[in-house]
Subunit: 122 residues, 2 copies
DNA sequence: TCCATAATTCCAGTATGGTCGAAATATTCG
DNA sequence: CGAATATTTCGACCATACTGGAATTATGGA
């Protein structure tokens, strides 16, 4: 990922409303959530939500598909991992020992694979 | 980390100039880089750079210390790992199998601990 | 004290982004 | 086709952010 695309993604996420939307979609997984459902859950106006979804979409962070009358949005996990990789990239050569905590974070996530309860934070 | 702080950090990084500054500081590690040196390397105006450093600082992503006539800036790795953790947090419960690529990213970083050459991308 | 260097702050002008009401488009169903 | 639902687009207003020139503060040395 190049710097320009990464900045665009980060800028899109640098808005509390959009960040909340994105996290909701990440939680939902590949199944995705309909726009109206998002609006209901986050209590946001349809047009404002639409604008924010559009920003996230243009940043490549989410994708959409039509399903009947609804449009389903889902997080683009490839883009997400690409962004996270971009951020970690430089940490290694600069100060490898600093990356250690990141390993812990991912280990926690990996350990969750079937083993943890929702809202677990151990 | 709460949503508001995370959004502030992401917003600060959602600017190509600031993202470049931050990556430069991450590469530099705890030693840090003087403001003037950053300006020279990135060929940016002193006042513009100062404003950007201020944004990053207020977002908690970098710290500064005076050293003689210079002010040395360094990346705050605790904040960085906190931010990355925040982004990964939801991925687990939602779709654990999706976190796998993240493990690969960190494994690469971990493997770098003394073992890889600069600019390695394997 | 006076000067040079390092960095920041102040202050415009300009541009971009966010929000909301209202209207328009797309789809389903009777 | 006509009505209802789901979502987007349009248009305007307001707020915030970015840039760059000039002045200001802080440190170190003669």
């Amino acid at each position: 990922m190049e710097s320009k695309a990464a900045a665009a993604s980060l800028s899109a996420l640098g808005h509390e409303g959009r960040l909340t939307i994105f996290r909701l979609l990440v939680k939902a997984g590949p199944v995705g959530v309909a726009a109206g459902e998002i609006a209901r859950r986050l209590d946001s106006l349809p047009n404002t939500l639409s604008a924010n979804l559009n920003v996230l979409s243009h940043a490549g962070l989410i994708t959409s598909r039509r399903e009947g009358r609804s449009i389903i949005y889902s997080a683009d996990f490839t883009a997400m991992t690409g962004l996270l990789g971009f951020l970690m990239e430089d940490c290694c050569n600069g100060s490898p020992e600093i990356c250690a905590p990141l390993g812990g974070i991912v280990a926690r996530a990996a350990a969750c694979d079937g083993a943890c309860l929702p809202n677990a934070n151990a």
